[in-house]
Symmetry: C2
Subunit: 362 residues, 2 copies
């Protein structure tokens, strides 16, 4: 949303101030300092990357509201439930997803450092923010990182009209030399639920392939879609590969829900529902030098990414991106010029900190 920075819709602040307000807010509702700082870091990373939907906008609506209602344990300590040389299973104890996710990915990275490759799964957790954050933790270690999570259900399977699947993102992070790292982080539905809300507000027709109505018919009406379900990447039916997106979304649910021994399929919450600890995550990391010398690999990564960026454009386009590039550039811009926060989110933070007696010093 960096295009809107100068408009009245957004206020600007620094990442440090934003992190501090988020951390103090969480501590005030009972989260330990270290965990609160982890959550703040993950949320502000999303705003820096331009992924507002997963940033501080969720502080009150998801995390604080659940803690206040008593449906999320702010003091939960993630516990290792099973462990081998290269795998770890963690029970998050219905705590915040971010500290559980970060600790598990740290363990996965440590195991990969010792043994070359490792995987981790987390059950009994909650929303953990952007999957890319955890995949990117592998980058400074010259590893390839993988992260995913299941989520509240919004999507239907191919040929189905029941809401069965979350937006279930996959993220992969791969180190480079001079180019920004390759960071692919994508929902396995065609669009996120929030996009329907934006189109409804603007009274715009949806694109065909985004959603079905409650009876299972394709729809371009935002209201009808919000009563229905999102479609998997590839859209309605199989003509454009909807079965592939459905398969990728189900793969996430298996890795995060079935493999972790947590909630999966019909046991995941529907929109508006709050189920305790129903979310699971999956992580992986492996060392680049298990295959090639790191410097040679990174040099070839730069060559690979530049080949795509330098290739010929379609009419009317002047740039080809590689995954993670837009978010990297937004991060640089927001670090230099400040982080934009939507006025509604800003006002919400002001109200929340007021209620909790915390200085609102953004």
């Amino acid at each position: 949303m960096s295009e809107s920075v100068a408009t009245t819709e957004y206020r600007i602040t620094s990442e440090a101030k934003l992190r501090s307000v988020v951390s103090r807010t969480l501590q005030r509702v009972g989260v330990a300092a270290g965990d609160a700082e982890t959550v703040a870091d993950v949320l502000v990373a999303a705003d820096l990357r331009g992924i507002e939907s997963h940033g501080v906008a969720r502080l009150e609506t998801y995390y604080v509201s659940r803690i206040r209602k008593g449906t999320l344990d702010p003091n939960a300590v993630p516990a290792v439930a099973r462990e081998t040389e290269t795998t770890v299973l963690v029970d998050a104890g219905n705590g915040l997803g971010h500290p559980a996710g970060k600790r598990t990915m740290e363990t996965v990275i440590e195991k990969a450092r010792k043994h070359g490759a490792a995987f981790g799964a987390v059950r009994n957790s909650n929303h953990f923010g952007i999957a890319g954050y955890y995949a990117m933790m592998a980058l400074p270690h010259d590893m390839i990182g993988i992260a995913s999570t299941n989520s509240v259900r919004y999507g239907a399977p191919t040929f189905g009209r029941d809401i069965m699947l979350g937006t279930n993102p996959w993220a992969y992070a791969i180190p480079t030399a001079d180019e920004p790292a390759f960071v692919l982080d994508f929902a396995t539905t065609t669009v996120p639920r929030g996009k329907l809300e934006v189109y409804k507000r603007k009274e715009k027709a949806l694109m065909p392939g985004w959603a079905i109505d409650k009876d299972g018919h394709p729809t371009t009406d935002a209201d009808a879609a919000m009563q229905g379900a999102l479609l998997p990447l590839g859209g309605f039916g199989t003509d454009l590969g909807g079965h592939k997106g459905y398969g990728l979304g189900l793969l996430v649910d298996i890795m995060c829900g079935v493999l972790s021994g947590g909630a999966f399929g019909n046991d995941l919450p529907l929109p508006g529902q709050s189920k305790e600890g129903a979310i699971g995550h999956f992580f992986g990391a492996f060392r680049v030098d298990g295959f090639r010398d790191v410097a040679a690999f990174k040099a070839d990564m730069d060559k690979e990414l530049r080949a795509f960026k330098d290739s010929a454009k379609t009419p009317g386009e002047n740039r080809i991106y590689v995954a993670g590039e837009i978010e990297y550039e937004k991060t640089l811009k927001h670090r230099a010029e400040g982080v934009p926060v939507h006025v509604k989110v800003w006002t919400g933070l002001e109200k929340l900190t007021g209620e909790l007696g915390i200085p609102f010093d953004l």
Copy 2:
């Protein structure tokens, strides 16, 4: 194509006879018996699963023709180039992709058996058949299997018109109890190149989102598309998530090409080109019991897959599938009733075996 079994377009034979003819043909052009049997097993597995495009139809057009031209070494012995506890890099020596792939996946499974998780990459290889074959090798070991390969280039990146990406499939295989295994095996382009050829033959318009013409405009004309490029899963531009399919395709090229130290990006062959050893593969496996008891996991997998299959259908549909189910049912059918071979392929095999002096006893 099981619907067509009774028509004159297809002849029927047994899988054993088909494997035998393929194996003897390859041995006659210089492939060692064990390797020839591996290739035959992978190709016939594709025909059993109903994936004709990757089955015996390729025997002459890809494998034998390259061996005869001297651009593929039938006697290459795959060599380990780097190895750790949990990773292995193999140089296929410009040999057949199937034995290199199978041996590497066997090594990956053995490493995963010892250490819990492992990955492997292969460079300097050739077309290896269906990726799902290698992922499925993990199933009898109660492991989750992963396989992918880059390929001849057919596809354009999002906003691009240069042909930069193969159909670059990802395959994942996950064990179950009584349900067929979950086997997701999909090209990261919206459709395979062969689909354009079928539509051209039938003089049908393509679906929007499948392809662009040589100038980068979306096209529904099969001829124009065959001069242009396939689009990534998600289609043209970003409206339906084309950037996600592009990202997944590039991820495959990185894992198979850059990580292996093999060919990647612009160094991969274009259609009609034959570059020696320009193809790379990537494999992974990890033990289910690193996370959960295997029986409990498999029971939950059945529950998960059945929940999707039992969910409500869209109007006009009477069945929801899970990944791998269609191919599993075709395999059962073709084992019971015989494997259908298209008359053109049948005639080609008859001609080829005649040239080589091998009995054509299908």
